[in-house]
């Protein structure tokens, strides 16, 4: 049983110079067999394990992670959380996640610092206005909070945005989702890990999957760098490396893995209190609690697993930032990094069974997976436990690429989320 975290616990532990804190999670060696194995110890994978244990009382579960938990896109993204998607299927799924976010710190007894400071999506031309209004109406009728702001309201809500009509692509309005915001990325992985571990889930780090053992059309287990693990259920949540695992099982997925970059400025005192995204002027920005401006934009066009993108993307992103916030020109980039994101042709994820019994994939989140973490884990756990999708992820099955029933969210995803 885990001891509860609280201010009192902090005071109590300070008396013993913090030398008596429990481990947040164990560091076990893999058992020879599990009821279910999750491949990938990112936020989505750990959340999946957490809900499998909590809601589907599977107890004998392992999460195997090639490196260190939360070390992939979970720990590399710009932490934007919102649910203002166009299509019903997406809206339903992302808002399911947002609702879980709203009480996640309490649920996990781990402060994930979910900050509902609002997310704006700016419009810069007639086409943007039409599309963003379309989304606003769709969100409203789906019961998702989303407002349209005219230029004056934009100026009022976020005064540092350059709303001059004389810039190259003047701001013509914006959507605003007030329930949206940001969270502390590492905390999400760590919180779910601590919660899952408390329910007996084995979190096995530095354990890379080398092969997937099939018996005809069903799963027998996985070969790892720490030996063979027998199991009938494998849930792959490997983000950028999903295709690599799929190839081991002899599957092909409709994915391309591309470099996505982000950067932060040096810390400064609070200057922007919301999250601002723009499609036409390609960038988005928020400010971390530490004071760093957290900035990102689009992916490079080519496949790469190097976790490095081109300098030109960074330059283009900051160009857009200075167009919208000329006051940032003298601020300095402290750190830039890259991740590998797996993108589907319709810019929507796959949370689905496969043609191989017991093999499930949760992938294709592209540039926007972080926001979905709790919902993704929750729905994937259901799909794995019941061997059938939850109503909220039915649309995200892999067969849509055969029937043609895609969930095209390019409008929502034109800029990395």
């Amino acid at each position: 049983m885990k001891k509860k975290y609280s201010i009192f616990a902090l005071v109590k532990n300070s008396l013993s110079y913090h030398e008596n804190w429990q481990r947040a999670w164990r560091d076990p060696e893999p058992k020879s067999r599990y009821d279910a194995v999750i491949v990938g110890g990112g936020g989505h994978g750990l959340a999946t394990a957490y809900y499998l244990a909590k809601e589907h009382n599977l107890k004998n579960i392992a999460v195997v992670e090639k490196g260190w938990i939360g070390g992939g896109n979970t720990g590399r993204n710009t932490t934007i959380i919102r649910s203002n998607y166009l299509w019903d299927a997406s809206a339903g799924m992302y808002d399911h996640a947002l609702k879980i976010w709203e009480n996640l710190s309490q649920e996990l007894n781990y402060n994930v610092m979910f900050s509902q400071r609002g997310v704006m999506n700016l419009a810069h031309n007639q086409h943007d206005v039409r599309e963003l209004k379309r989304r606003t109406h769709a969100n409203r009728l789906n019961g998702i909070d989303c407002e349209w702001l005219n230029v004056e309201q934009v100026k009022k809500f976020c005064p540092i945005i350059n709303c001059s009509p004389n810039i190259r692509y003047p701001v013509m309005g914006s959507t605003l989702q007030r329930r949206a915001g940001t969270a502390r990325h590492d905390a999400v992985a760590w919180g779910y890990a601590r919660g899952a571990d408390a329910m007996g889930v084995d979190i096995i780090q530095n354990c890379e999957v080398k092969g997937i053992k099939r018996n005809g059309d069903s799963i027998e287990g996985i070969e790892t760098t720490k030996g063979f693990i027998k199991t009938q259920k494998v849930g792959v949540v490997a983000a950028g490396h999903s295709s690599v695992i799929a190839n081991m099982a002899g599957l092909r997925l409709p994915l391309e893995s591309k470099p996505l970059q982000a950067l932060v400025s040096e810390p400064i005192k609070p200057i922007i209190d919301t999250v601002v995204m723009s499609n036409a002027v390609h960038a988005y920005v928020s400010q971390s609690d530490k004071g760093e401006l957290v900035i990102g934009a689009g992916t490079d066009s080519y496949i790469s697993y190097t976790q490095k993108g081109t300098h030109e993307i960074v330059e283009g992103t900051l160009k857009a930032i200075l167009e919208l916030y000329p006051i940032f020109s003298r601020l300095r980039m402290l750190r830039q990094w890259g991740g590998v994101v797996d993108i589907c042709p319709d810019a929507s994820p796959i949370i689905s069974k496969t043609s191989i019994k017991g093999l499930y994939f949760n992938c294709g989140w592209g540039t926007g997976g972080f926001k979905a973490t709790p919902g993704s884990g929750h729905l994937f756990a259901h799909t794995m436990a019941k061997d059938e999708p939850h109503a909220l992820n039915e649309a995200f099955n892999i067969n849509r690429f055969i029937s043609g029933d895609l969930v095209d969210e390019h409008g929502a995803a034109a800029v990395a989320h």
Binding site: V244, L253, P254, E312, F401, G404
Partner: protein, 90 residues
């Protein structure tokens, strides 16, 4: 930022080129004969290889020619370039 050796123009900066995805995906000559699954295989399914990949590039800001490149996607090292219709030089 790669340097890509266009088979027609020689070594040029990455920014002169456009990426064209996996190479040697031949568009079916008789699409109507294919099942939905087979068509989806061509249309959407990709190897997305980590390692040596054969891929298409277009010297779009130069001679406008398409050509093939073999590149290790885990290091971005380019091993060879070859013209459309040719086989990769090993």
């Amino acid at each position: 930022m790669f340097i890509i050796k266009c088979p027609y123009c020689g070594e040029r900066d990455h920014s002169e080129f456009n990426y064209g995805g996996e190479a040697h995906l031949v568009r079916p000559k008789q699409p109507t004969e294919l099942s939905d699954d087979q068509w989806a295989e061509y249309l959407f399914m990709r190897k997305n290889i980590k390692g040596l990949q054969y891929e298409r590039w277009n010297h779009s800001h130069g001679c406008r020619r398409w050509f093939n490149v073999s590149r290790d996607t885990s290091t971005d090292k380019i091993h060879s370039v070859y013209k459309i219709g040719e086989k990769p030089s090993k």
